[in-house]
């Protein structure tokens, strides 16, 4: 009874950590440029598939990981440079369609160069699993959790301590004022897209040993990350992490106790329920509309 509960909780937290990283990526780009980046899921795919392909090309695992992260970061910066920056005065819906176009484009490239097959990566540790209180804990879950925690802390330090982090914050608060203060806002926005892609790719990479990867895994993971970001209230980093964990746990409990057929529907039911009572998410600020 309890071992089952522990089991579901472990897998929920593991899944939640992944969603939290994706949601942080959404939040970062949303804050910097008010764009909902529907190509966010593709960065996860590049992280996982990139590593698989580089390992297949003969690189040792750590080098392949670094290679995939670099590839995704470059893709993120290029996405901003080539598709978002030239359309900066466009309507919100237009920008959404541009990021959707980008996601189809990236998925298409992955399918063309890397194929349609499903791939797995070896687990990061030799020991597969530990037994705690009757429940099995995958060592990969521990890797996922610790890497997620390190990334979240690093991000917090980056924004509060580094000059670059503060420049991103300043740009997201008021672009014109930031530019007047001497910040090259277009460069800063590019950096934000790069970091967001890096976060997504890291999430996609560490989850691949347990969930497999393919050219199209980004669609569902990206949507769920968007849900997690919206649960927290778009734009709130704390909200993104809380939203991610909430999603992961509810999904795991639903799959375990109720029905695995409907586990993919859980995030969307939760977000509808939350928006019904809190139209700006859990941590979102009440926005005033100017006339």
């Amino acid at each position: 009874m309890f071992s089952e509960f522990f089991q579901f909780t472990f897998s929920g937290i593991t899944l939640g950590a992944i969603y939290a990283l994706v949601a942080l990526g959404f939040t970062l780009i949303y804050n910097a440029s008010h764009v909902i980046n529907f190509a966010q899921g593709e960065f996860l795919m590049i992280g996982g598939m990139g590593t698989v392909v580089l390992v297949g090309a003969g690189l040792p695992l750590p080098a392949a990981m670094v290679g995939a992260l670099v590839l995704a970061t470059v893709a993120g910066i290029l996405l901003h440079r080539l598709a978002i920056a030239p359309a900066r005065d466009a309507d919100v819906v237009t920008l959404i369609i541009i990021t959707i176009g980008a996601s189809i484009f990236l998925r298409g490239l992955a399918q063309f160069f890397w194929g349609k097959e499903y791939h797995a990566l070896p687990r990061f540790s030799a020991t597969e699993s530990l037994s705690i209180g009757g429940a099995t804990l995958l060592t990969q879950s521990l890797w996922i959790l610790s890497i997620a925690v390190v990334l979240v802390v690093a991000l917090a330090v980056f924004f509060s301590r580094s000059k670059l982090g503060k420049a991103i914050l300043a740009t997201s608060m008021n672009k014109d004022a930031a530019r007047l203060a001497g910040i090259k806002t277009q460069v800063i926005l590019g950096v934000a897209f790069g970091i967001s892609a890096l976060l997504g790719a890291a999430a996609g990479l560490i989850v691949t040993p347990i969930t497999f990867t393919a050219y199209d895994v980004g669609i569902m993971l990206g949507l769920k990350g968007f849900v997690a970001a919206a649960i927290g209230g778009l734009g709130s980093s704390t909200g993104a992490v809380v939203g991610g964990l909430l999603l992961g746990l509810s999904e795991a409990y639903t799959a375990g106790y109720i029905s695995s057929d409907y586990k993919d529907a859980v995030p969307f039911v939760i977000i509808l329920a939350i928006l019904f009572f809190l139209p700006n998410g859990l941590f979102g600020s009440r926005a005033a509309e100017r006339v």
């Binding site: 369609i97 959707i100 063309f112 977000i271 509808l272």
Partner: protein, 328 residues
């Protein structure tokens, strides 16, 4: 600039009717008729969605749910409850209208990205339900529909029909039906745009608060246009189901919702004739891209991005603007 009859909305409707009526002269085989029929049905959904997105400024990323609901309701009502197709289509449209009214009340209070999120969520849930409720929907394998019947006459794509000494194939008649539906859909949309509802929608698109202050009951009008656009989608969905004779949950998928909103934005928001062009392009592009085979997605994604970056207002409005500038 001189305002010719063709520049006015109803002149546009005349032009559209003319083009649709002359189309049979330009095409030669069943495959072309098939594409034309699909364009007309897709355009019908897009014209309805454009009322919501283009005119009222409310983004829906889950509109395929209503299209799928119409198609599946027709399939289930004609199959398991043996209703006649027309009766099923009308019941489906009424049911979807009520459904849209029920879900629209809470979610239309949401703004911007939260509304996108909520409509997206509804769409994804609808697709998952259709996939999982196998007893009712046939699950991922899909479900069949009988041919449409009008006033006791069956309209099958495989049939041949005699009218006033002329012989028509079922495919040709289906095209004529879909074209007629599109013309009626456009006529209704133009009337709505030109009515107090249309003016209220444009007011709340500009600024919802300002519209409220000016005495517009924005919640009421938003809900009304949401229901109208859902009914458009439901009717087109039912017709598509009878036309193709078989549907799968992909009709209600997230990808299909994205395709619909893409048509509206690509063709030109708040441009009824623009979205028809958008629908034609989205239906035809895959045909031209089959030459690229493996690179189809790459090319499609690139085209989509390029059009939206260089013509952010959509194809038709941008082209018309250039023409006007040239004329001056």
């Amino acid at each position: 600039m001189k305002k010719t009859i063709l520049m006015s909305p109803y002149g546009g409707l005349l032009l559209l009717t003319l083009i649709l009526a002359l189309m049979p002269l330009a095409v030669s085989n069943d495959f072309h008729y098939d594409l034309l029929t699909k364009i007309c049905l897709t355009a019908t959904v897009a014209v309805g969605l454009n009322l919501l997105v283009g005119y009222a400024g409310q983004v829906s990323l889950g509109h395929a749910a209503f299209y799928g609901a119409g198609a599946y309701a027709s399939a289930i009502l004609t199959g398991q409850y043996t209703l006649s197709p027309m009766l099923a289509l009308l019941s489906a449209a009424a049911g979807v209208g009520v459904l849209a009214w029920l879900v629209g009340r809470p979610i239309l209070h949401l703004k911007g990205h939260y509304l996108s999120m909520a409509t997206l969520g509804l769409g994804v849930i609808a697709a998952i339900v259709l996939n999982n409720e196998e007893q009712l929907t046939g699950g991922p394998d899909g479900i069949g529909l009988p041919p449409l019947s009008l006033f006791g006459h069956e309209l099958s794509v495989f049939g041949e029909y005699q009218f006033a000494g002329l012989t028509f194939t079922g495919v040709e008649l289906w095209y004529l039906l879909a074209a007629a539906v599109l013309v009626v859909a456009v006529l209704l949309a133009l009337n709505i745009i030109d009515s107090p509802l249309g003016r209220a929608l444009r007011a709340l698109h500009g600024s919802e608060i300002a519209a409220q202050v000016a005495g517009v009951d924005t919640a009421k009008y938003k809900l009304r246009v949401f229901v109208i656009s859902a009914v458009y989608a439901s009717i087109a969905g039912s017709l598509y189901g009878h036309y193709s004779g078989f549907i799968t949950p992909t009709v209600a998928s997230f990808e299909h919702s994205i395709e619909l909103i893409t048509i509206v934005v690509l063709g030109g928001m708040a441009s009824t004739f623009g979205v028809i062009i958008g629908a034609a392009i989205l239906v035809l592009i895959p045909q031209f891209l089959t030459d690229f085979q493996e690179l189809e997605m790459v090319v499609f994604g690139a085209i989509l991005m390029a059009v939206m970056i260089f013509l952010p207002r959509g194809l038709l409005p941008s082209v018309l603007q250039r023409l006007q500038r040239g004329a001056q």
